[in-house]
Amino acid sequence: MSDKNNMTLNLKIWRQEGANVKGSIVDYRLEGVSPDMSFLEMLDLLNENLINQGQDPVAFDHDCREGICGMCSLMINGQAHGPERETTTCQLHMRKFKDGDTIVIEPWRAKAFPLHKDLMVDRSAFDDIMSAGGYVNVSTGNAQDANSILIGKDKAELAMDAASCIGCAACVASCKNASAMLFVSAKVSQLALLPQGQEEASTRVQNMVSKMDDLGFGNCTNEAECEAQCPKGIKISNISRMNREYLKASVTAHH
């Protein structure tokens, strides 16, 4: 509620000009931060200052700024999307920090996510995984009446829980192994829970996991740090379901 611009922050931000250049942490002091600002608005303010000083603004990814597009990222003080649970960086507000705080801001780091610039990374690996099988093979116009597929409320809710993944990759960023299992399992689970996804269930899980492995993500060691830092609260029970689906597919499928 307050409109006092009363915070001063010490920012330590990863600056890196491009993919093949060495980067480093650069210190900035930022004054006039209002507690009502979102974290990204705080960075906007920093950038406005940098531009006025003729310096290159910090590049970071963002778009909808309402926590749903999955574009924003940032490792804030060593946690994906910062210290608030189930909150994306764009929905994190500066009132969660104190005057005089030091905040370390880094990009997502993983072999599968090459860095573009500063805090921007390339997450197209997620699209690659999706294209390996994250869909139901149904062409437009083939559909039967929607109510002819009955799905119990509980199942629909579970599928929806998994489907609320925003693909931000906080799971990869927070996992000590840079594993993409939570992301992949969310999609595998959604479709495994629904009757629409059954026909391709075994090829889907095999192809998506195989693509994930090829892209250089790490393996899961069941630490659940991904679940804890997922802004949408996706559960690791999805990973378990994927493990089950994969086992089932490996044992039974013909390919």
Binding site: M1, D3, G18, S34, P35, D36, S38, D44, L45, E48, I51, D56, P57, A59, D63, C64, R65, E66, G67, I68, C69, G70, M71, E84, Q91, H93, R95, H116, K117, R123, S124, D127, M130, S131, Y135, V136, V138, S139, T140, G141, A143, Q144, D145, A146, N147, I149, L150, I151, G152, K153, A156, A159, M160, A163, S164, I166, G167, L194, Q196, G197
Partner: protein, 641 residues
């Protein structure tokens, strides 16, 4: 020079139009489809659904998006739901009723034939999405759940929690990914369209700028589909995403595509109010909150007391007072205007005094805290996160915000703009919502255009115009010309090296737009607005400061390019509002209101689409007119008393 233009609507009874027309339209031989390359700009509901469907049919698709993945287009942020006249609840819905409601809700400024087709295919959309695995809300028996939305008298809205847009977009996106896997779609991410390329008057390609490398790329094709969303960001603050912009549509406009009804903007009444100068965007709270929340302001001006200290007799529940039968559930435009009026009278609340209360005290008393928590828990949490106030104990503060633009590129019944081969789908076109969009209709329209309309009309164009017989590659001189003009523009922006940041211009433009072309407009204000915007534009081109170079990522340069276009579009919006002295839907001219301060249409003179035609920089554009007639839905005055 104003022309009469024609929407190419086929003749006949409206119920049969689309079916008969589909039969009449020409088909592309299955074996020939792969010879056509289609460029699709934008990957929201319209773009993604078009890309996947056309790829399934066999066309080669080049898809472009500004984000790092097609899945992030701003359709993803739609909360409420998607309408369809399935009549599953057996409450009297029908295609005709959906059609009727949409035409009436749009205040009779949409093309009847388009709206009817939309209502018809809406049912197929639900089937299609369910088949893709979209996890719609279900009832215990496993059938689809419906809810009533946006004041509709039937329950026709399908939804996936408060994330319907996300789920529908992910459905369309996954369908796209399926075609990417088959090699039918090539996705170009982090690319922004900076020019439309015409060859012999037909759209044959685009120039894009790669946001990562700064390189300009030439892409040629047999047709171009613009699915680039709305232009609400012209107001700087809106519920749109940060990169939502008008530039692609604006480039088409400047190459000859008409821009229709630019003044029709939808201002959503329940947004979280602005908190300070550094605010970058506004957050929408679902309209459903008005089902239980009561809107009020103190009766006294500049009342500094806390909400709880203001007794009931000193509160003005103005919506309930003015509209006894609809109360807090009046349509979006009415609720928004009344909120602004209260604030303008000095009765605003909160620290900034630019907000009204949305109070759940009585609902909590009546239904209990748990019931309210169950219904709105997520929204209350979101509000709490953003404002640091607890809406269970103090009333929410809300204020209207720009949310959707009904105007857009003019398209005919085939969704083709006035440039042959350039089609426009979804929010980017003007067609189906008239002067006001009803809740849960945007998702319906985007998907209808992409899944069920364009596959037919595009085929008809390709067979009729045969662009494949005149293969154009990117060495064509028109590509060189367009490429040069794009490069020149970016170099010019970089060369100004003035003293003000891009955002400061954008914010100033936003202030003018909100002040003069906002919720209530009048002649004097619009004239002032046009003047101020023109002056600001001139200043921009002299004094904007764009740091960095064109090599590699340069966010300021991207923004400058978009703001430069907004500075032109803003003026056209004001001009369109000025030239439409009636009130209709989201467009409220103070000069044209009923005795009860309601929007008053002037059907005798303005029952038409204004389709603006570019005539040159700093020249007055032509206002072309497409007459609208309403043989099926009789024109009536809306009333919510």
């Amino acid at each position: 020079m104003s022309k009469k233009i024609d929407g190419n609507v086929p003749q006949g009874p409206i119920e049969e139009l689309w079916d008969k027309h589909r039969f009449k339209m020409k088909l592309v031989n299955p074996a020939n489809k792969r010879k056509f390359k289609i460029i699709i700009v934008g990957t929201g509901l319209a773009g993604a659904s078009a890309a996947s469907t056309l790829a399934e049919l066999g066309y080669e698709i080049d898809s472009f998006c500004i984000q790092d993945s097609p899945r992030r287009a701003h359709s993803i942020a739609a909360q409420g739901g998607i309408n369809a006249a399935k009549n599953y609840p057996n409450d009297g819905d029908s295609v005709w009723r959906l059609f009727y409601d949409t035409v009436k809700g749009g205040d009779y400024r949409a093309r009847e034939a388009n709206v009817y087709r939309l209502a018809q295919v809406a049912n197929n959309i639900i089937d299609q999405c369910a088949a893709q695995g979209v996890p719609f809300a279900r009832d215990y028996g496993g059938t689809l759940a419906n809810r009533s939305f946006g004041g509709a008298q039937v329950s026709r809205t399908f939804y996936a929690r408060g994330q319907t847009g996300q789920q529908l977009l992910l459905g369309a996106y996954s369908s796209m990914m399926k075609e990417v896997n088959k090699g039918k779609i090539k996705v170009h991410t982090r690319q922004e369209m900076v020019e439309l390329v015409l060859v012999d008057g037909k759209a044959r390609g685009i120039i894009t700028r790669n946001i990562i490398t700064g390189e300009f790329e030439k892409h040629s094709g047999d047709a171009v589909l613009l699915c680039t969303g709305g232009y609400g960001n012209v107001y700087f603050l809106s519920t749109n995403a940060m990169t939502s912009n008008s530039s692609a549509a604006w480039k088409a406009y400047k190459k000859g595509a008409y821009f229709a009804n630019p003044c029709y903007t939808q201002i959503h009444p329940t947004c979280i109010p602005v908190h300070g100068e550094n605010q970058s965007k506004l957050t929408l709270m679902s309209e459903s909150l008005r089902n239980d929340g009561r809107v009020w302001v103190p009766k006294a001006k500049a009342d500094e007391r806390k909400a709880a200290d203001i007794p009931d007799e000193e509160r003005d529940y103005y919506l309930e007072r003015k509209y006894p039968s609809f109360g807090n559930l009046v349509p979006r435009d009415v609720a928004s205007r009344n909120g602004k009026q209260a604030v303008d009278e000095g009765k605003g609340v909160g620290a900034t005094k630019v907000a009204v209360f949305l109070d759940f005290r009585d609902a909590i008393k009546r239904d209990g805290l748990d019931t309210i928590k169950e219904k709105y828990g997520n929204l209350f949490d979101m509000y709490n996160r953003i404002t640091d106030e607890d809406p269970y104990s103090v009333p929410m503060r809300i204020y209207p915000a720009v949310h959707y633009t009904m105007g857009g590129l003019w398209v005919d019944y085939h969704l083709q703009t006035s440039i042959p081969g350039c089609f426009c789908l979804g929010e980017a076109n003007f067609s189906d919502h008239g002067a006001n969009r009803l809740g849960a209709s945007a998702l319906m329209q985007g998907l209808a255009d992409g899944y069920f309309v364009i596959p037919y009309t595009l085929g008809n164009y390709l067979v009729t115009e045969k662009p494949d017989q005149n293969k154009i590659d990117t060495d064509h001189p028109e590509f060189e010309t367009s490429l040069k003009s794009a490069k020149d523009r970016f170099n010019k922006l970089l060369g100004i090296n003035g003293g003000r940041s891009v955002d400061s211009f954008h914010k100033e433009l936003g202030q003018y737009m909100w002040e003069y072309v906002g919720m209530a407009r009048n002649e004097a204000g619009l004239k002032t607005g046009i003047k101020k915007i023109a002056e600001l534009r001139a200043k921009f081109w002299k004094d904007v400061k764009v740091t960095g170079t064109n090599d590699g990522i340069n966010i300021e340069l991207e923004k400058a390019n978009r703001v430069a276009d907004f500075l032109e579009l803003g003026e056209l919006m004001a001009r369109d509002a000025l030239e439409r002295p009636e009130s209709c839907g989201g467009h409220f001219r103070e000069e044209s209101q009923t005795d009860e301060n309601e929007a008053l249409r002037q059907d005798d003179n303005f029952c038409h689409v204004a389709a603006w035609e570019y005539t040159g920089d700093n020249k007055e554009p032509n206002r072309n007119v497409e007459e609208l007639d309403f043989p099926n839905v009789p024109l009536t005055q809306r009333s919510y008393k």
